[in-house]
């Protein structure tokens, strides 16, 4: 990379810069790599060097009723809130890209705002309003608010996909006799599916990692995995936490790989003649 005629100071700068970037990458990655091995540690301290290999912390995770219930709750709340976010966000994104009206910018800003409003405010506000109507301590309340937090991701990713979408295809389908529903399911949806799926993955990730709203809205029966982890870290951070962290990291890596695959696929499709 470096030219043979480069001066000494240029060489020093070149390598110093590379080292700096290397250190920043270590800073980004190290915390994620450091915790997985410790979840297989045989003694109960989260310290290196490890004393031996054991899967007891995973056994403890799967046999503890509290953790099991938290895991089950997460597997109920996140998929449903993701589904809700996708069902509401996808049509809205189609609508927003197709028409213009006064106040559209403001409406878009409001639809996206759950992404930026501090979650504590969302948590306290929904607690204030949901408590009198019995939506606190219920799955429904949590699913609704998690969907609201995830929906901006669906709207933005689907809108981004629609930027490159040729609506003449829908017209062509209509002129060939397809009714609007058929045209949507046979033409539009397959083409924007990558956007819908990646938006859904973002929404799922948001819900699956959500603590603050859950702290305010969930009763003891609705405690989720992050909520349980939050309590665990606050009290006493144990290797069981490391085991849960490892499971979550594997999960998020899988989601990232899926997203990356989707992105490359759509890039390939776009590049194809």
């Amino acid at each position: 990379m470096i030219a043979s005629y480069a001066s000494t100071s240029e060489r020093i700068w070149h390598y110093a810069f590379r080292m700096l970037c290397g250190l920043i990458i270590v800073f980004l990655i190290l915390p994620i790599l450091v915790i997985a091995p410790l979840s297989f540690n045989s003694d109960s301290f989260l310290l290196y060097p490890m004393s031996g290999f054991s899967t007891r912390w995973y056994e403890e995770f799967f046999s503890s009723p509290a953790w099991r219930q938290a895991f089950t709750n997460s597997l109920i709340i996140s998929p449903f809130s993701t589904l809700l976010a996708m069902l509401l966000g996808t049509p809205a994104a189609v609508g927003l890209t197709r028409i213009d009206f006064p106040g559209k910018g403001l409406l878009t800003a409001i639809l996206i705002s759950p992404m930026v409003v501090p979650v504590v405010i969302v948590g306290v506000a929904t607690y204030l309003v949901f408590a009198p109507i019995g939506l606190t301590g219920s799955y429904l309340g949590l699913i609704m608010v998690h969907a609201a937090l995830g929906v901006p991701f669906v709207v933005t990713t689907v809108s981004a996909t629609l930027q490159g979408f040729d609506f003449n295809l829908v017209r062509a389908a209509a002129s060939l006799g397809a009714n609007p529903l058929t045209a949507f399911f046979r033409i539009t949806l397959p083409l924007v599916a990558p956007g819908v799926i990646s938006g859904g993955l973002f929404a799922f990730g948001t819900s699956f990692d959500e603590v603050v709203v859950t702290l305010f809205l969930a009763g003891p029966e609705q405690s989720t995995l992050p909520r349980q982890m939050f309590a665990g870290i606050r009290e006493n951070i144990s290797p069981t936490i490391a085991a849960v962290a490892t499971i979550l990291t594997v999960l998020s890596t899988l989601m990232l790989i899926t997203l990356e695959w989707l992105r490359r696929r759509s890039e390939r499709l776009r590049a194809a003649p």
């Binding site: 994620i32 450091v34 310290l47 639809l111 996206i112 409003v117 979650v119 929904t126 609704m144 990291t249």
Partner: protein, 421 residues
């Protein structure tokens, strides 16, 4: 097809021009309705689960229901009182009557708690007074009340009631800026030992600013490095940025506790290198909070910077270099100005997100690092003071909104997630 037939002579139509125009307009309207109907469900859903709750919370910051609920009649009378001399017998009688009605109910307790916030000792005053009610037939309300507590003979006591006889108050908003209304009805600064909120707000903004600057200092070189690599290498390096971005915040917090604890890897490394001979306290103080916050928010800085840098053509820099401009100067004069949109977007995004953080400081910090969010949660969960929780939320919300407005001006709200990726 419709267009084609529209240009054909239309012998059967009586007024072809007008009809075409109106038909087009009709079609346009139908189109708007059709696509508007697609947006509507989401708009309604967010109204119910997001906009309405936040509006209700913000309204709470100026709500003052306690006194009006407890003493509706007295409140109405006091609103017509001039506030100079003691109120007349009618006010005393109405007050004593209403005291007797709510004796022993939570309504009285709420009113007493509310007044006690303004003047400590008012709760016991109320409780002592309520014991003197209901009045015996024919007794003078004025005498009985002043007999129960001489403070009912002072105008200041009634002025306090009168000040709170309105359904709205600025008290909570003023209190969250360390101000209050004094006995004379003037806005004054609260005494230094009670004044904590300005410090909390300044700390919130200050910490967000530091985190943003550190993220920029670390993110800029890495984004530049990635943007100038060949596609394959850049993709691998981007994964290194995206992996932490996708990892649960709690996992990262736990990881930092493990790394930074007194016998953790960081302390081991520092002692091994001879930088220190005893373990440093790196977590449960500001160091830990800053390290973890920078780690969590760094991807939000790198990704917008990267997307801007990728679009900068290298030919300008090359032109500057070939014309004899030294490398650093040409970088500063030519390349850097082109990255400003990315710096603006990334910086605002990191600042906005940082301001609202709750989990990271509460798990990794000491009480000295808690930000505004912590106090919102504190007033909701611990002391159940909705007014203060709402007022602090309102300030945090307005600050977020202002920055978000600047952000949307800068990059457009649609691009937010695209850039955040």
């Amino acid at each position: 097809m419709t267009q084609y037939s529209a240009t054909m002579p239309a012998p059967l139509d009586t007024a072809p021009e007008a009809s075409l125009q109106s038909r087009l307009r009709r079609a346009e309207r139908m189109n708007k309705l059709k696509y508007g109907a697609l947006i509507l469900p989401l708009a309604i859903f967010l109204m119910l689960t997001f906009v309405w709750p936040i509006a209700a919370l913000l309204k709470r910051s100026v709500d003052n229901p306690e006194i009006i609920t407890a003493f509706p009649q007295t409140s109405a009378l006091l609103r017509g009182w001039n506030g100079q001399a003691l109120p007349d017998d009618g006010v005393f009688a109405a007050f004593a009557g209403e005291m007797a009605q709510i004796k022993g109910t939570p309504v009285l307790a709420a009113a007493a708690k509310r007044l006690n916030m303004e003047v400590p000792g008012f709760r016991s005053l109320m409780m002592r007074t309520v014991r003197a009610t209901p009045l015996e037939a024919g007794a003078s309300a004025r005498e009985v009340l002043i007999d129960a507590d001489p403070r009912w003979g002072e105008t200041a006591t009634w002025q306090l009631l009168a000040r709170n006889a309105s359904p709205y108050t600025m008290r909570y908003l003023l209190a969250s800026l360390d101000h209050k209304v004094n006995e004379q009805g003037k806005v004054v600064a609260t005494s230094p030992e009670e004044a904590i909120f300005v410090d909390v707000l300044l700390r919130t903004f200050g910490m967000s600013f530091v985190v943003t600057v550190v993220c920029l200092l670390l993110g800029f070189p890495l984004a530049y490095f990635i943007a100038t690599r060949p596609v394959k290498t850049a993709n691998v390096l981007l994964m290194a940025v995206l992996l932490p971005f996708w990892t649960s915040i709690l996992v990262r917090v736990a990881a930092w506790i493990v790394l930074l604890q007194s016998q953790g890897l960081v302390n081991q490394a520092l002692m091994h290198l001879g930088i220190t001979d005893h373990p440093l306290q790196l977590v449960f103080n500001s160091t830990g909070v800053y390290i973890a916050m920078v780690h969590i928010l760094l991807p939000f800085m790198i990704l917008p910077l990267y997307s801007v840098m990728k679009g900068i053509s290298p030919v300008y820099m090359r032109a500057a270099l070939s014309l004899g401009c030294p490398p650093f100067r040409s970088f500063w004069k030519i390349y850097f100005p082109q990255t400003l949109p990315g710096i603006g977007a990334g910086g605002l995004l990191v600042f906005i997100l940082c301001m609202g953080y709750y989990i990271t400081p509460s798990l990794l910090g000491s009480p000295n690092e808690q930000m505004a969010s912590y106090f919102v949660a504190f007033y909701t969960n611990q002391t159940i003071n909705w007014g203060m929780a709402a007022a602090l939320s309102a300030i945090l919300f307005v600050a977020t909104l202002l920055l978000y407005a600047i952000y949307t001006r800068l990059v457009g709200s649609q691009n937010m997630a695209a850039r955040a990726r």
